[in-house]
Symmetry: C2
Subunit: 488 residues, 2 copies
């Protein structure tokens, strides 16, 4: 026991904004899972029998594909290995296809040095590649100067919110449910949260009038609404916004002079046949033409962590600005400069994401085969789990159409709600903790994302290997039946 | 021109704390250098003659060794390449020494996945290695749980200051001169800066009574002094604190209940014959014994960016806590969780830093030869530049003993000070801009680090390749003579 009497970092003295921030994706459930994992390991090391009713933790609390055995794309790793150790071009050329070597060479020749600080916004050649890719994707010109590479999208989101929130009256509209990075950042920067609710009965679409109502209510309270966060495809709901809703959001932002934050990191994770991604940039340009730079401020986010790359550990992401004043852009340059630069390997993976092998390149077929196999498998896994959920008492799960998550609602019996209260936890947290304790399956309670009062949900990343899905849903169903029997 | 009338991100609306932050290491001089670089490139691309009086920018504004041709350590890159693309162990085993393969295998076997989010504090096996190394270095036990790996030390420093600064009365003592990350973070988090001055006449040592005076003055103003930052070896002065000063700092912190932030990222950059690094952890333990956990809160920082690794682009660093309450530690875990995890390759490089090849390993001799060659060359370069400075009129430069920087004082003529005022810049900034304009050499004015009123300095990273040093100091001397002639 450390004597707390003379400590500075004591709960009563620590910055309250820090104390208040919450992030359930790596919160109480995850910590409990880490404890169980340590118990299993310790028993094994001591040659003793496993004290727990499961052999391993199944981490479905987070979209972390490679932790659950998704293989990295071969071409990505060939390029990063060559960048790290270019001598391999001479000592082991046979171990690499010529297009991977050419890719690494092109970056190295452009002055990219993986051991050096790059430009604070990221290496110019890589930003040029991202800008060209963005221009092609949207049919709307994009400048390399508008791109800011960061160590993961989380860093960028925090940077943008930090600049936007001047004081406690600065309001940010966030969807409910939302990815808790937004609520945590709003706590950290002490801004006003302005929630707008997605409509579960309409597959989590935007309900008519919802934005205006949320806005009016905030303004009535003296909030200066400055930005709206749209997460599309959505985390945690796994749904895609209809184009009409996207247009409504853009018009709403233009009408009220609100900056639009478009979190589009799941843009490659679409599972409906023929589905294609439409960016808010493209929608804004369709509606406003080239005058969009005067009519709206738009910041969009993308990342190598999701999609079919799943390179979460690389912390490679960027945000891109449209319609933002040069003076404001300069502030972001400065904020990036304080961190010196984003990590270089994350930058390389971003470059591969926007410059994948082309038809005719040696790696083309392998790359696309690996991609298609990952996405097809994700789709099958999502459907299998969703189907299993919809046979379970009191579960309702929307058809999985995007992202890496299912977000079923669960009807909890009164007695379970009382038991949770007695245990001092929220009912959905209670349910998730019980599931973890009995199955080792780690999920995140809906309260971590926000949900309508009296409803309960959890978020589950559908990432366990395909051959383990049936066993896992079987264990969940068995747990759930016993839970319901206990508390009915 | 974008119409500013309806914009949210406008200088009058942006968070003032963001607007006020300054970071001169990548500030006005660097931006000017980027402009010149673009001009040279554009002329070259257009087949036109270079419009500037120099052929290239010499970036001495930042400690970025590999940008100036320092080679990465071979073993480091062999391990990172193998981690990125483990298939090379089968397809190109001849391209790697067995110890590099064994190192990569050990990390992979411990469950390290470079494409996956790790534990928010960093991969457990790597933290175990860092803890064991720290224990050996200090002779003081260190737990892996006390280590927090971050994307560069800057991220960690900001995290610690964010928790420490509860409101505008929370004071942080920083040395003057200091690395501007601290002043920038104090602006961002709106804390009270409590400067303590280093004594240039004593080779930037701590003057007797300085800490107490600075503390008393702050307390008189109503400041709640919470932490003291010590940078040792020092950036920007390039000096090492005598052991007596370190003891004084520890006693001061213990006496007033102040948390000690020990920025020790230059601990491998020592140039005096026989010099060894002593950490604040060791000093605190020497003075306080095992009771140090009750008597002091100590956070120390280390990084792969400096030393002889110079792997700045990897953004691999950590901070380590001693005597910090579990409840406070939990807050850092949560703050890290909001960012999900530090980048994985930075973690691997950290592991190599604390587990270099051992005697008998195949890579042992090469590793140490590369290390010694880098450090010996840094020492020679520092001395050459320092000697040149001390022949220049009005320059005074302390003997370079550590880090990567020289921080000479310069006596500027009255007329130059007036010319700076007329140009609307500070005198030292004026001098640095003039030098950049005429020589392409990029340095950082002392005002970016803090200096006593009426004195002028600049910081120069002594990193240009050895064969270019004489030419560079020659150009600086020529510029300086002309500058003095112009303004005398």
């Amino acid at each position: 026991m450390i004597d707390p009497s003379r400590k500075v970092l004591r709960p009563d003295k620590i910055n309250k904004a820090v104390l208040q921030a919450r992030h359930e994706v790596r919160g109480v459930i995850t910590m409990k899972a880490q404890e169980y994992e340590a118990q299993i390991r310790a028993a094994k090391a001591a040659g003793q029998p496993n004290p727990l009713p499961f052999d391993e933790i199944v981490p479905c609390n987070i979209g972390n594909p490679q932790q659950l055995k998704q293989k990295p794309l071969t071409y990505v790793r060939q390029v990063t290995a060559l960048i790290e150790y270019p001598a391999l071009m001479q000592t082991a050329p046979q171990a690499f296809p010529p297009d991977a070597i050419a890719h690494a060479k092109r970056l190295l020749d452009s002055g990219f040095i993986s051991g050096a600080y790059t430009h604070s916004q990221g290496h110019p050649e890589i930003r040029k590649d991202i800008a060209a890719w963005t221009t092609r994707r949207d049919g709307v010109p994009c400048s390399p100067d508008s791109i800011f590479i960061t160590d993961g999208a989380s860093t960028g989101v925090k940077m943008v919110l930090n600049a936007l929130i001047a004081d406690q009256t600065s309001g940010i509209m966030i969807p409910i449910p939302q990815y808790p990075l937004y609520s945590a950042s709003l706590s950290l920067f002490q801004g006003a949260t302005v929630p707008y609710y997605l409509d579960e009965s309409k597959d989590w679409a935007l309900a008519p009038g919802e934005l205006e109502n949320a806005y009016k209510e905030a303004v009535k309270k003296g909030v200066d609404v400055r930005a709206l966060v749209a997460i599309n495809p959505n985390n945690p709901t796994g749904q895609v916004l209809p184009l009409d809703s996207m247009r409504e959001i853009v018009r709403f932002c233009v009408g009220h002079g609100i900056l639009l934050i478009a979190d589009e990191v799941y843009q490659e994770n679409l599972y409906e046949p023929g589905a294609t991604f439409t960016s808010f940039r493209k929608i804004a340009h369709d509606l406003l033409g080239d005058d969009m730079v005067n009519k709206i401020e738009l910041v969009n986010f993308h990342s190598v962590s999701k999609g079919f790359f799943g390179e979460c550990g690389k912390r490679g992401a960027y945000f891109q600005l449209d319609g933002v004043l040069p003076a404001a852009r300069a502030e972001f340059v400065k904020m990036c400069a304080i961190n010196l630069c984003p990590n270089t390997i994350g930058q390389v993976v971003l470059d591969v994401m926007v410059c994948p092998p082309k038809p005719g390149d040696v790696s083309y077929e392998t790359f696309w085969a690996e991609r298609n196999s990952i996405l097809a498998s994700l789709k099958r896994r999502a459907q299998l789990i969703c189907d299993a959920f919809n046979t379970m008492e009191g579960y309702h799960c929307c058809k999985p159409t995007a992202a890496l998550y299912l977000f079923p609602s669960i009807t909890l019996p009164e007695k379970a709600i009382e038991a949770a209260k007695a245990a001092g936890t929220l009912p959905d947290t209670f349910y998730c903790l019980e599931m973890l304790r009995e199955t080792g399956i780690t999920i995140v309670p809906g309260s971590g994302f926000g949900q309508r009062l009296g409803t309960f949900h959890f978020r589950m990343a559908f990432l366990p290997p395909e051959d383990q899905i049936a066993g896992m849903t079987g264990r969940m169903a068995k747990f759930h039946a016993a839970f319901m029997a206990r508390y009915k």
